[in-house]
Amino acid sequence: MAQDQSSLLLKKQLNELMKNPVEGFSAGLIDDDIYRWEVVIIGPPDTLFEEGLFKAHLVFPKEYPLRPPKMTFKSEIWHPNIDKDGNVCISILHEPGEDKFGYEKASERWLPVHTVETILVSVISMLADPNDESPANVEAAKMWREHPDEFKRKVGKCVRKSQEEFVD
């Protein structure tokens, strides 16, 4: 039954996003599977990621929305909070754990009231404003802090690549 509920809620969200698209991203299904979404995130204006067209996958558990989806960038992307396999590591995609080491503020963790939209709004804001306190890509975090020009070049490359791939 948990399955019926999660798939119903996901269907409703998808329909809603089709009817009233939200600025900054578009969404669709992978192989018609309601638990696997492909989203395209438009690099936020006035940031290094501007005009990028980044593909990412969202994979929802059957227990959604009680448990969060996993998000993975499929386009190459260079960012302190995205690991080298493309996995997005931000607090709202993590469940509140008992463990207080390491991660970001627990107040921003996964809650059942979150939606695809609230997740993507957080991800877009993460692109604009990296959090280097708990980096998933340590090298990128270091570069962002210490060699901003190099970081900028590297991100610029990803942006162009994402555009080229998108046209293909």
Partner: protein, 277 residues
């Protein structure tokens, strides 16, 4: 006092499963143990889920005697005291949601027999939803949880049998949706009365942080403050019988709110809530 579920449920099998690793465990402050912690938590949850129903059948209180050793005088005496006032118990799963599950089941079961409180309660629920939207919660997900909640309530109002209510509460999907909604009712009340409740928070958290960490997430146990908020929010008084290791042989109770006439009664044993009849 932290109360509500996980503390009582560490099956011996799990201890052996995790202890070999623990023997040569050295804490590395550079490492992030969060995923491992969640993983371990998940194992415990599965173990509990396979042995405990979300809500059990009504059982005779005599059953409780078997939960404790006969030499355990404190508890045996307290069970006798409990039996002088109650007949049955209905157990809930120790998953951190037990207070909400017990409270919710006991109340809806009561509504099956006396439907007079339903219109008032529905209005409270609808008003809370409006208030949550005003607090900035996404209408979309609120609709999802509240629609399920109100749907169950409508069935209780029209045609639901006790068996159907029992099945609904043991259907993990629906049952957990109800839990989310109760949690949202608590968060709404706490935030709307933040100034008052802020006095009771420990540490440096504000009420919004407290709600995001201790109220809204599933499996987070219920403390005094949650019970106070929930009973005030929904206007359903509850009596809690506290059965702990304290001396005296008698089980003490507390009514929320104080001096109210309780609509339902729950049994508290350290870390867990069940329903009493």
């Amino acid at each position: 006092m932290v109360v509500g579920g996980r503390g009582t449920v560490a099956p011996p099998a799990l201890v052996s499963r995790f202890s070999p690793d623990m023997a040569d465990f050295h804490y590395d402050p550079e490492k992030n143990y969060d995923e491992q912690t969640l993983e371990q938590q998940r194992h415990i949850e599965q173990e509990v889920a396979s042995t405990q129903a979300l809500v059990s059948e009504r059982l005779s209180l005599n059953q409780l005697i078997k939960d404790y050793s006969m030499e355990d005088n404190i508890y045996q005496q307290k069970i006798q005291d409990l039996r002088s006032r109650y007949r049955d118990i209905r157990k809930t799963r120790g998953d951190g949601n037990c207070f909400y599950r017990a409270f919710g089941f006991a109340y809806l079961e009561r509504l099956l027999h006396d439907k007079s409180d339903i219109p008032r309660f529905k209005e409270v629920v609808n008003q809370s939803k409006t208030d949550l939207v005003a607090l900035g919660y996404p209408q979309f997900t609120l609709d999802d949880f509240f629609d399920t909640f109100l749907d169950v309530l409508s069935r209780v109002e029209s045609s639901c049998t006790p068996e159907e209510l029992f099945d609904t509460f043991n259907d993990q999907g629906v049952s957990d949706y109800l839990i989310v909604t109760w949690r949202l009712l608590v968060t709404c009340y706490l935030q709307r009365n933040g100034e008052f409740f802020a006095n009771f928070l420990e540490g440096h958290r504000d009420i919004k942080e407290f709600c995001c960490q201790e109220v809204e997430p599933m499996n987070k146990e219920c403390d005094h403050i949650h019970i106070t908020a929930l009973t005030s929010a929904v206007g359903i008084p509850v009596r809690v019988e506290y059965m702990d290791r304290g001396e005296g042989g008698l089980v003490n109770h507390h009514d929320f709110p104080e001096c109210s006439k309780p609509a339902i009664t729950l049994l508290y044993r350290p870390g867990h809530y069940d329903i009493l009849y």
